[in-house]
Symmetry: C2
Subunit: 260 residues, 2 copies
DNA sequence: CTGGCCTGTTGCACTTGATGAAACCATACA
DNA sequence: TGTATGGTTTCATCAAGTGCAACAGGCCAG
């Protein structure tokens, strides 16, 4: 497990690799983990794992639950989280506004937030009748275009785990509620390069989304509208505009580097 | 710099401390930093700093801008950020609903998001006429109760930097637009234990907020209403309910431990 | 155009901090 | 009461980390 992921990098400090392994574990276990788990997953001896956690705890990158004894993410990481979303939102906003002006429909930026999609930016359609997300909502992955676009960038095992945890409640008659059907939909999403919510989250609401995963973010942008104003025939054009936008964004965010 | 912050912790691995120093630097420098800066701030020799960064880069906890050569936060941290907000929001929501039912006004959870406040949860008043935040908005710190509540937990130097960067635009005739006056308001906020937006963000909109900083979060919860339904005389009662709620939340989030 | 300065990268000899097995401690449960 | 499991500490050993100095490359001023 302790090998560099990027070839060409000459240096690798074992202790730093070990800290990274623990950071990975922290992220994969939001509800906490035990010393034994750390030792098992990372293959460290318990004593070593114990010392690493103790040092991270002293710097508040890890917290220890006094009742259960479990370790979990500490407050020292907080500045990181709020800032990344900001940087993303700031960069994306002008593009969303431009797309909204182009299609005159609501345009959104969503980010994977635990097991759901959280709306980070919403630029609403100028129409009185519009399909707009609600503030603070964190929608399911299975019935939203943003959710599907993001899920399509995750491996099927993780998607399966998320949906088994969150469930796949029926929102409309069109909602996909069976896992195999949903995984097929994800495969189709990957092939098309965009996700479709065809009245699955809300009756008469249609939405199309493209992932921002190439920018290193579990995020996506979408256009949504009442189905009466966004027909299935319109989707390829909207998809093209979204893909072009994503391409620009990825370039801005990553610089000129091609993604790996 | 390399000393444990929490007494009683026997173990301290030097390399782990050094990684933490770099993590701190990453968070304090969202626009990137140079190798020389790392060496200066952390007091590492350049060669050591270089090797630490190279190892972190190989695990994608750090990214290297190919044009400027600057280092910045890498995508490996992304899962952390989205999840912390989720955990917070999940814990807070039932409390917000209870407060909304109690006061029949809109109740919000906001979190510091770069230099502004982002709305994480909004539970709207049942009234037809209501003061409710807009989805996706990230409001200024200077004219919102949430912003003041969070700013009051930061030191004045950081607040000054934020406001000089973001500006203090006039939203209503009541908006505070001078820094010294705002810092005085923050002092009063600290003394009261709650922040007040007295028609400063929106005319006829009043809002009161209490910080969640004791839960290790740069966040706050608030109640907002049209001024006609939330008089200044009502504020102490609402404040008490918010403070009690925060006390419960802090206990849930931190466990039985007293905050340091 | 050249020299100086600064930042980033590498080599190498040395040493210091890290290591992990095993023992110990505490708690829970049958 | 004994056993099992998870967490914590001891201690002898050594492997990884270290940092100075040199090198490489780029930029800028004279």
């Amino acid at each position: 497990m302790e090998q560099p992921e990027q070839p060409g990098t000459v240096y690798s400090i074992r202790a730093v690799q070990r800290v990274c392994n623990i950071l990975d574990l922290i992220q994969e276990n939001p509800h906490g983990f035990s010393l034994t788990q750390v030792a098992e997953v990372t293959q460290f001896p318990k004593s070593s794992a114990y010392r690493y956690l103790a040092t991270l705890e002293s710097r508040r990158y890890v917290m220890r639950d006094p009742i259960t004894g479990l370790f979990r993410i500490g407050p020292a990481f907080l500045p990181l989280q709020s800032r990344q979303v900001t940087v993303l939102a700031d960069r994306v906003r002008p593009h969303l506004i431009r797309l909204r002006d182009q299609f005159e429909e609501s345009v959104n930026l969503g980010i994977l937030n635990g097991y759901r999609v959280s709306y980070v930016e919403i630029v609403e359609s100028p129409h009185s009748v519009r399909l707009a997300a609600r503030e603070g909502d964190r929608d399911h992955l299975h019935c939203t275009a943003l959710g599907k676009a993001i899920a399509a960038t995750l491996d099927d095992d993780r998607v399966t785990m998320i949906l088994e945890t969150e469930g796949m409640p029926q929102h409309t008659p069109a909602t996909i509620t069976e896992l195999p059907e949903y995984l097929q939909d994800l495969e189709a999403t990957r092939e098309r390069g965009y996700a479709i919510d065809n009245c699955e989250n809300e009756s008469d609401g249609r939405c199309i989304a493209v992932s921002l995963a190439d920018a290193g973010m579990p995020a996506a942008i979408s256009v949504s509208a009442p189905a009466s104003r966004l027909s299935l025939d319109d989707l390829p054009d909207v998809a093209k505009a979204l893909k072009d936008t994503v391409k620009k964004l990825v370039k801005e965010i990553n610089g000129e580097r091609p993604t790996s």
